[in-house]
């Protein structure tokens, strides 16, 4: 018999365990099962993971070009030693899904460049949830070309993880533009149009980011101006708001958004250098601060773009995901003070890949299994080029 008090203490012990152990202990008793799968425990456990950087895992979404396909592998990061382990290939069922974004140990995936097929996946508990296939509705006039964008983030007001899909339609007259914006979430897994009108602005970044219940894009006015702004969409109120960029930016510059150290990050590429800015106070435009500038020759070769993934354990280095114009993707530690780069040498990394970062999370424990457990695991070795 477990008194309520004792259960509180058991919870205190269990939140200190990594995901694998907690999942195994689902088997201890029905009471433990109920405790572990309770939303309160899952939140506490996640909070502890985030605070202690536990079970930090990099998911590498590998791109192969001939034949065109996408694979997944995972590599553990030890925050204690600031080191990466060996890459482990992940199961086949996710073949050809591509990473959109990630949050709280969940990875948002899509299939097909039109992004009509979306799923949420927790690699550490090996569960996922597929959203209903949502076809794109052509607007009233005929469109010439259309682009799909996905955003994924956590809405703290409704305690829900939401996916936003924005379709930009360029009309046949080459002048008009239409937009379709729909939302789907874990608690409410059907696609719904939002009420607000998408502002008359074009998306000019490859990837959105989500932070503190808002989703951000870099956008540019359609009225002939090339000046960019930051468009924020609040997942709870479903309203838009515009912010200024760290410095005035023109549309032709390569600018990227990221989240670094829990802050909004803006990476501005110029021909010979790269500036990285952090919005130190959330929602305060004037708090954009440049935290470092990388001269392109420091990275030793021409890179097309890089992403800022995370700080090192002591906060002195930043992990970059570097994509060269041609050649392999690199993970690089940039030492902010010393202004030096250290390439992560790991022979088990794939050739070209994108990174999603996961943390020890029990979310989606009630999701679907990726592999039918009643079938024997079929590990086929994939040929590497």
């Amino acid at each position: 018999m477990m008194s309520n008090l004792l259960q509180e203490l058991i919870a205190e012990i269990l939140i200190r365990l990594p995901v694998k152990s907690v999942v195994r202990f689902l088997c201890v008793s029905k009471e433990w099962y109920a405790l572990i799968t309770s939303s309160y425990f899952i939140k506490m456990h996640l909070k502890f993971s985030i605070e202690t950087n536990r079970d930090r895992t990099l998911i590498l979404n590998e791109e192969d070009f001939a034949p065109a396909s996408h694979y997944f592998s995972a590599v553990q990061f030890s925050s204690k030693h600031n080191r990466f382990g060996k890459t482990v290939e992940i199961y086949q069922p996710l073949l050809n899904w591509v990473v959109s974004d990630y949050c709280d140990g969940l990875v948002c995936l899509h299939k097909g460049h039109e992004k009509q097929d979306v799923a949420i996946w927790n690699p550490l508990v090996r569960k996922y949830r597929r959203f209903p296939f949502e076809p794109i509705e052509e607007p009233s006039g005929l469109s010439d070309v259309r682009f799909s964008h996905l955003a994924f983030g956590y809405d703290p007001h409704n305690d829900d993880y939401k996916v936003l899909r924005v379709i930009e339609f360029y009309m046949e007259d080459m002048i008009g533009m239409e937009f379709e914006v729909k939302v789907c979430s874990m608690r409410s897994p059907t696609w719904k149009k939002i009420d607000e009108q998408w502002p008359n602005m074009v998306i000019c970044c490859w990837k959105s980011v989500a932070l503190n219940g808002d989703v951000y894009w870099l956008v540019a006015d359609r009225d002939g101006q090339h000046r960019m702004s930051l468009l924020a969409f609040n997942l709870a109120t479903e309203k838009f708001r515009l912010y200024g960029t760290p410095v005035p930016l023109e549309n032709y510059l390569s600018t990227f958004l990221d989240v670094l150290g829990g802050l909004l990050c803006c990476i501005v590429h110029d021909y010979t250098f790269c500036d990285v800015y952090l919005m130190k106070k959330y929602g305060v435009e004037s708090s954009w601060t440049r935290i470092f500038k990388i001269e392109k020759n420091v990275l030793c070769r021409d890179f097309e773009y890089f992403r800022t993934l995370m700080f090192s354990t002591n906060g002195k280095k930043v992990l970059l995901e570097e994509h060269p114009e041609c050649g392999r993707t690199n993970l690089i530690w940039y030492d902010i003070e010393k202004k030096r780069c250290y390439r992560v040498k790991n022979r088990s990394f794939p050739y070209v890949f994108k990174v999603a970062i996961c943390i020890g999370s029990l979310l989606l424990l009630d999701g679907d299994n990726l592999i039918d457990p009643t079938q024997k695991e079929n590990k086929r070795k994939r040929k590497r080029n």
Binding site: L5, L9, E12, I13, F25, C27, S29, W32
Partner: protein, 203 residues
Amino acid sequence: MANGENQNPNPNPIEATPGAAARTITLKTADGEIFEVEEAVAMEFGTVKSFFEDDAVSATKPMPLPNVSGSALSRVITYCRRSLEIRSMIPPATSEDATAAEAVQGEGDLEAEKAAKQERKEFEAEFLKDESNEDVKELILAANYLNIKELLDFLCRSVALRIQNKSVEYARKFFGIEGDYTPEEEAQIRQEYAWAFEGVDED
């Protein structure tokens, strides 16, 4: 908790007369053992602290601790005493603002902090070395009842480390739990999460 004050043998400045003996508080355990504890140490127990803050008069009578045994209390006192000593090795921060403290902190302070950390690590490793699972559980219940956050955190951390790689059976035994799944139900869980059962320590 700011603890530079504990460098003074009498931590209660209101009553301090230089060189006066430290006040003690008397505690009585469930099995009738009486403990006279330095006030500084006893005040680490949240339960004791609020008891005496509420009712200063009872300072003369032994405070009853019906949920704690003598052996457990003895271990708890040892922990808190040592913990206070280690914390007093670190000079107090002059302000809450980290950057100001960093500016004031000299080489010596950083060294002291490092040394304290190392001492704590060694002390904690030694503290639970010979404790059985039953003893550790008793300590957890005591730390929880006495409301000693630091000790409770340490104990929970230690138990988590102990059971992290262990089997379901080990966990059941440790907490004295009867598995209540039917064989079919249990088999289903083990099959669904087979990956979580790989690489587990032998019992």
